[in-house]
Amino acid sequence: MIKSEKIIRIKNQEPIELKKIPVTDYESFTGMVLEILKDENTHCVSYYAYPDSNDLKFIMAIADDANHDIIVLSHILKSLDKKKLASLSEKVFALHIFEREIYENFGVEFINHPWLKPVRYAHNRANINSQINDYPFYSIKSEELHEVGVGPIHAGIIEPGHFRFICNGENVLHLEIQLGWQHRGIESLFLEKKHNFQRNLLAENIAGDTVIGHTSTFVQTIEALSEKKVPEQIQIERAIALELERIAIHTGDIAALCVDAAYQLGANVFGILRTPIINFTQHWCGNRLGKGLVRILGTHFPFTEDLKQELLKILNDFEFRFEEMAYSTYRLPSIQNRFEFVGIVNKQQAHLIGTVGLSARMSNIYRDIRVSHPSNAYQKFPYETVTVEKGDVYARFLLKKKEIRKSIDWIRNVLSKYKFDSAQTEKPNYQLLLKPNQFVISLTEGWRGEICHSAITNDNGELINYKVKDPSMHNWKALELSMRNTEISDFPINNKSYNLSYCGNDL
């Protein structure tokens, strides 16, 4: 375990005074980062810059899974300094996306960065002349190769993104994914909207498929900054909603993969199996995707003993039909033949690009915030993570099934041990004062992987920075790697096996 006065260790959702984060020169910052990231149990969860008076202040947060804490480091680029820094991505490739984002937002050039291109063409980008239609795609000059461009509008009901394949016949040599089409200015809106209720609703709309994931990460960030205690039952309710979200979306993903493998029975049955789960969420809070449920410091929709009985019944029925369908699907030779050995990202590659969540666990990397940096609900009711080994489409297909089973077990365990009582909860409270000059980072394991929100307050307790990171930020690279030396007709099953977020990346 590395100790140094140049770093500070904090816990998930534990605010610290901003001035307690040691600020070092870039050279020792680089040295420390490389030293810390040598350990396989660490990975960078956030690295960003924000304007601090006239200077640019950089903050990096590295999760240390073995010690269950987060290492925070910082450095400053003075206003008079040249906007050039030696790239860290050269040595730790997983950092590439963070440096690209800083480059796009503030025009800081990272020397020797292998892939210094815009991330999302944000409305407030440094180089306003760069245009989304002029993205500098990688290309290979050859008479034998051809390029295939897909998007931004895709064939299905799906968000926009552009995929550019370089192919040799049917075989894909290289895929580059260009995003940004969904950019709505979320991070600036968090600062422009002054009322916490507005921000609460904004968090709900970051990614509509991860409503609970993003909203609970947001409320935990704000609650940490206000130093108010949230009733235990509310924390447990949020975790139940998070697991239901996981079950629902994973089930939908399994159905979508069956569609692409032309397995009609699986497509239909898994498709309708999602319905009772999201209908329960609607029965609980009025919205099938959970909008309206998670609120700062409380809820309008407390979980009750009646809801518990209904949920247990729904889970029993779901499990029986799910297991029966899965038994046939996962043994079907045509499914196995279609998914196995396709789109492999091995453990070494996954480490290199820094995948998180499901995309890490499919390559046998034990990376799960519920285990490594658990919130109170997962401390009280521990979750045991599952992984699979091969990193192909089948591995992702299989992992979704295993995680559904785990989530059902976890919810059942909670429901059997915890007594729900509306009197133990509170109504939402948006009128809270945030502590001045604080930094806080909040991590949640959403169904895609780790969601990271961090916030900084000024002298008056106003938000001066709000940073959102969706797991897709890391994982899009995994989809690109999956497609190398894969037939282009296998793209749909690869894409759906990851089901990454466009709006979560574009913000």
Binding site: Y121, H123, N124, I132, N133, P152, I153, A155, G156, I157, E159, P160, G180, W181, Q182, H183, R184, G185, S188, L189, H195, F197, Q198, L201, L202, N205, I206, A207, G208, D209, V211, G252, L265, N268, V269, G271, I272, T275, Q282, H283, W284, C285, G286, N287, R288, L289, K291, G292, H300, F301, F320, R321, E324, M325, S328, K427, S501, Y502, C503, D506
Partner: protein
Amino acid sequence: MLNTTKIIYHNGKQYISDLKNVSLEAPFRGRPEISTAKVDLQKLVDVCPFGAISTNPVSIDMGKCSFCGECAFAFPEKIKFTQDYKIASNRRENLVVKEGETAPISFDVNIIRPAIRQTFSKSLKLRQVSAGGDNSCELELGACSNANFDMGRFGIEFTASPRHSDGIVLTGPITKNMTEALKIAWDGIPEPKIFVLCGIDAISGGIFANSNAIDRSLLNNIDVDLYIPGNPPHPLTIINGILDLTRQKI
């Protein structure tokens, strides 16, 4: 074979036979009703971060309303949300519910272009475009075609290409980065064609209405045929809205 039969038997009948008359239960929030009770109007207006509530007379604009229910929790004597999910309309103004009104949301059949019902009443192929949609409306549009809601029974489907489609269903507040692609898709659809706004982000910009990253000017030049409110709209709202627009009787 035996396993397959068992699966089909165990899952039973899943489709909703009458999509017009499903009864949804509270806390599902559909069409709001505003009583004539006297309350502090300024506080009532301020409670809604979407600016959906206005006064004189007190009204809720469902084109802006996120159906979060916060106003009903703050002023239960003034506002309640019914479970009426048939809230889509072809007139923007019809989405505004005023004090004392309890009638269902109406469709103005007089302004429906004749070509729409002549051409699309038995078959309608739609192209979905997400321009900053958060994937919630997209999920619900997808659900419209699953075995529960089965919109395909009416001949309504989503297509891959604008060239094969009869209209666009737009989700999202229209990001600057998507304006050009959206315009190209719309121009690529042959006449006659319809334009549908799905979800409050598309109808009014929603929580993103004041964002510098969106550009809604394209809508100035397009006649919108259908507004489907909700965040996201329930599949039943979507399907009933499209049916009301395209056919006289179902």
